[in-house]
């Protein structure tokens, strides 16, 4: 009898927590949806990808997170935490994978493009992180990548001993 009660109250707690989570999600701006009417994860991978032709009129979502110090340092932490730095360089200057701090974007440089590259993966070794990482973390990584080479960049690289004061 007592046990049942305990279970009931705990289940209620769980349900409430889940509900709270759902509400929270609805309150957020639609993050991943490139097409206005579609939101959620299923978009990435099906409808999006590198788009041919100039200026395809596909609306691209902006990062729901602002370029603020706490978001960027969190993005930097995730960049190290998920081993991105191993391929893309200690400060994202490249290595096994391409530099993310130069002018070149192989798959687009808008927030949504970067998000998609992380979420869907790219040929030649970039894993698809979308099925594993929460969207919020991918957006924070996106913010960090956008900050590279700007005054906002957290943990800036030191000067290069053999090629000082060059750009990218």
């Amino acid at each position: 009898m007592k046990r049942t009660k305990e279970w009931m109250s705990l289940s209620a707690l769980l349900v409430l927590t889940l509900l709270a989570a759902c509400e929270r999600r609805e309150a957020e701006p639609a993050p991943a949806g490139a097409l206005p009417e579609v939101t959620g994860k299923e978009v990435t991978g099906k409808l999006l990808g590198p788009q041919p032709g100039p200026d395809r009129p596909i609306p691209k979502a902006n990062n729901p997170f602002p370029m603020e110090q706490n978001v960027l340092t969190e993005g930097r932490r995730l960049f190290v935490w998920y081993n991105c730095y191993g391929c893309h360089g200690g400060r994202a200057g490249g290595g096994m994978g391409p530099s993310l701090r130069d002018e070149t974007w192989l798959y687009g440089g808008k927030d949504q493009d970067i998000y998609n590259s992380i979420a869907e993966g790219r040929p030649h070794g970039m894993p698809a992180w979308g099925p594993k990482l929460p969207q919020e973390q991918i957006w924070k990584l996106t913010a960090y990548i956008q900050s590279l080479g700007t005054p906002l960049e957290p943990k800036k690289p030191p000067e290069n001993p053999v090629m000082p004061t060059t750009g990218s």
């Binding site: 191993g86 200057g93 096994m96 970039m126 690289p157 030191p158 290069n160 053999v162 990218s168």
Partner: protein
Amino acid sequence: MRAMYSTVFAAMLLSAFASAQGPVEFVTAEGSEMRIPRTDAAGPVGKWWLPALDSANSRYSQLDQINAGNVTRLESVSNWSTGINRGHEGQPLVVDDTMYVVTPFPNFLLAFDISKPGFALKWKYDPAPDPTAVGKACCDVVNRGASYADGKIVYNTLDNHVVAVNAQTGKEIWKTKVGNVNEGMTLTMAPLIVKDKVITGNSGAELGVRGWVKGLDLDTGEVVWTAYNTGPDEETLMANPNFKPFYPKDQGKDLGVKTWPPEQWQLGGSTVWGWISYDPELDLFYYGTGNPGVWNPDMRPGDNKWSISIIARDPDTGEARWAYQLVPHDAWDYDEIMENILVDMPWNGEMRKLLIHPGRTGFVFVLDRETGQLLSAEKFHPPTNWATGYDLDTGLPQIDESKRTHMGQTTYDICPSSTGAKEVFPSAVSPRTGLLYIPAHNFCMNYGAIEANYIAGTPYLGADVLMYPGPGENRGELIAWDPIQAKQVWGIKEKYPLQSGVLATAGDLVFYGTTDGWFKAADARSGEVLWKFKVSSGIVSNPMTFTGSDGRQYVAVYAGIGGWVGANAFDLISASDPTAALGTTGAAADLKQVTTAGSTVYVFALPESAAQADTEAAAGETVAAQAQ
């Protein structure tokens, strides 16, 4: 001009090992007592069948048509673009009238007919590797070459296949998958054919891969044995009673487990991405192992066996005979996968079977290759400061603990850097001088060990490394080293890091290339650069030489910058992040200013008239010698 064959004496017949590999001959020369064991497996004089010419890894060719007297007339006779603008490591093979070139990923095998002018392409074999492998290779998508035996060209593809291709037709004979690219494993090294086995090893210690060597059947491609470099003795094939490491520190049961925290050995690196040597008399093959898994040393307390070790094994069974760990509990990523050069030399008055290992750690190690005893370990790279020397009684390095890296700290001014006092690019020896020619480079580093995370198929580092040029104006130096006296005889300083192999010839020349794209020939005795030629891209390959069907001696080299250090020339790496490319950008970003990606196979020879004259003169001399 003395005919080369007169310098080759003593052909010893050792019937016990003669069956598959042919009798053991010793290549010797006037000038030193060094002798190089060589069998028919190296091919006839003037051909090049194995990655380092012979299984002793000598890279010493008996050809002497091109010599110190005429090298200034050397000219380019052919150059071919492979079409793949990535790091061209390794070297071509020459069998009969065909030259074989393995390209970087996608690992084409190109066969050129050297009897045709300009070396016409005969065929191209495409193994169609999985492109995922590109993103799993730590240090560019290189390939270090192929081996030839029994009508087959055998090589590794980046996506973990060993392939055997019919040397005549270019048709695939077998293709064996030996690893999973999604776990971060790749193959970059050149397999060595030993008797009826293909010995191959894996890469990927930067991704938490567990290192191994495998023996494959040359006829079928079937994996006959697998010997891991970490884990229990049953899997490292060290459980046999004949496994007798020389030093007490290397003796004991299951050291591949007991010197690691629980299960860390499964991610323990210790891969085999360098060179394999084989001694036909002792019937043992030798290789060095790479760094222990995860660069952050505090995450793997213990000696971390058998990382950074030299291991001797039986090629038929893979069973270990001895092992010697050069650096216990590495804290600097000093992979010791370097070439082990097998020569016999007098040591304290007694002829001994030596194994010479010019190390990434900045030391030249000389071991007795029968027992694994360390005979000498001396610094060839003066700035080396992680250790002051080696204790020959215990086999342990005398480490400067202030240079040991730890989690949460940056340790400054460690020399050499993780790329080593020399990289994987192999040295050569010459019995004419008794010297070892080491392509050295000169970087130091600041190494911060940070928290690491293992996610299968992604880098497993835990280090924030910044490399920078070491003391002095030169980032590279070709060092001629006397292995007996353990001292430098001469050096050629290079401004840019030296990342090419060395070729020594009986013409008393050493050939090497620079990362800014100069192919050079130097006098093997004085170190004077006699000839140089500007090629299309930085050189990270190993020069080789052969005799063509027209009787001329040719020298071939690839021009195609790349590899760990060389990749800094590529656009995909930004100079503004000196910690990029695993820390090398801080020491090599300016390669962008002196070279760009390339993909050319260069072949050089003397002008036909000169070669003719030279051959006739030599022939005349032989006739004269016979007449006497």
